[in-house]
Symmetry: C2
Subunit: 308 residues, 2 copies
Amino acid sequence: MLKVPDHQVAGHRQARDGKPSPLIDDAGRFYKPLQDDDRGSKEVAFYSSFSSNTRVPDHVRRLFPVFHGTQLIEASDGSGLRPHLVLEDVVSSRSHPSVMDIKIGSRTWYPEASEDYIQRCFKKDRETSSLSLGFRISGLQIYGNEESRLWKPENKLVQNLSAADVKVVLKKFVSSNFPDDPNSDPDCSFAASVYGGSTGILAQLLELKAWFEDQTTYHLNSCSVLMVYEKEKMLKGERSDAEVKLIDFAHVTEGKGIIDHNFLGGLCSVIKFISEILTSPDECTTKVCLQDSDKNTNDSENCTTEGM
Amino acid sequence: MLKVPDHQVAGHRQARDGKPSPLIDDAGRFYKPLQDDDRGSKEVAFYSSFSSNTRVPDHVRRLFPVFHGTQLIEASDGSGLRPHLVLEDVVSSRSHPSVMDIKIGSRTWYPEASEDYIQRCFKKDRETSSLSLGFRISGLQIYGNEESRLWKPENKLVQNLSAADVKVVLKKFVSSNFPDDPNSDPDCSFAASVYGGSTGILAQLLELKAWFEDQTTYHLNSCSVLMVYEKEKMLKGERSDAEVKLIDFAHVTEGKGIIDHNFLGGLCSVIKFISEILTSPDECTTKVCLQDSDKNTNDSENCTTEGM
């Protein structure tokens, strides 16, 4: 039985403008309708190449969704049979996932694209945080303490954040208090276990970085890093299930012997933000918690950001 | 006594369009005329800030020219007194320096620039190798075996090289045979001693990279990495004097808590090219030396590229 998933956070993976939505089954597979024009075939070409590329080391391969080929299935909008990419379901198989979709790169266009596409991306990169930060948050959902309370700001609101605001959002992502409460500063309770540690998000991003410093096969234009974990497990004291997955390969081009310096630079910027949260717990009180001086003392105690 | 230096390789540091040229003295100082508009004052502001910034570690500081303040001196074109930056003379104090000026970054413009400047740079970055490689060679001079024979291609000819051509030029830079000889493939004789080793160019670039992964104070837009060494010393079996220096800070902007992901990405691309020359000596024969099959055997023996 296929159904429309609950937890899609980034814009173009939702059903809109009459386009069919992705589907999931109960066996952990995610069915992504092939995009029109050549984007769909480009994404299939990337997954086919990547999944059969024996030079990709296992610790890098696990940062990409598993590819199960393509399948002709009934589209979610009732428009009939349509080819779908069949992928590992990274998000929807979880019960209450907190998810952040970060589009990497200060530039989302690439020389091989059409002039029209280049100009549109050039404009959007300048209008969002892509140009300044080297990435933009494309989508976001964070659960609060109670499972049912979900903070899911509109994508437009998070695409053009300042450096200071991005840091706050990255702190909210790993805090126990409810992210949408203006009277409550992020306590960073889960920073050490979600971002830090040998299997945490930072460690996974550093493995990705090392690969991008070396690989010259793929340029992952306009691709996203998805960060996922379940706060519920943290609250129960369970081991962190934090995961990094790269998604959206409709604009991948050949590396032709050159590293993807655009992706690498943006990735290093994300890494720097997350590293700072882990290594500068003081900032939790000095910058973010300035509003309420009484609370600073407690918050600084809660800032369990001892680093990796 | 001030004089016009012999060894300026990049375009805008030469006298042209009626602009005065830089000057040198015999005490190892380089006098750079302050550029008109706000570029001159921006460069002074950068050198003042950087030279007094106590957070810059010594191993990074030595990759920048020493700053000796500004001085009002007679311009080289006889146009009268003009303020000059007084800097360490990196190149001209050497007798026969081989020099490569690499402008780092796939983007030479920045959000704070004027729309006119942005559009001009955007166009030039696309027309040169900056966009694809993450850098462009801005100027180049390589000495041959005999001191007097100098290969100094026009800057326009080296700004838009393909990945394969950049690799050839980087090999020519560290080869004993004359770089302009079409019948002679680069032998990479000096690769290990100039690029490799604990004090070689790659080691210096890696120190720079580590700093750029962390520092969020300066964005070095449109800045160059200069690589310099004297082939004569290599031929005499002396220790390599290979040096990396960053130059041209007329477009530096404040980092505002964000790493310079554009510079970092481009720098990583340069590092990858140089690493490959050090770690893949075979390629010297398979790709570059294909033209003359008889010579391949000899060349592969000469490829002393054992890595660091």
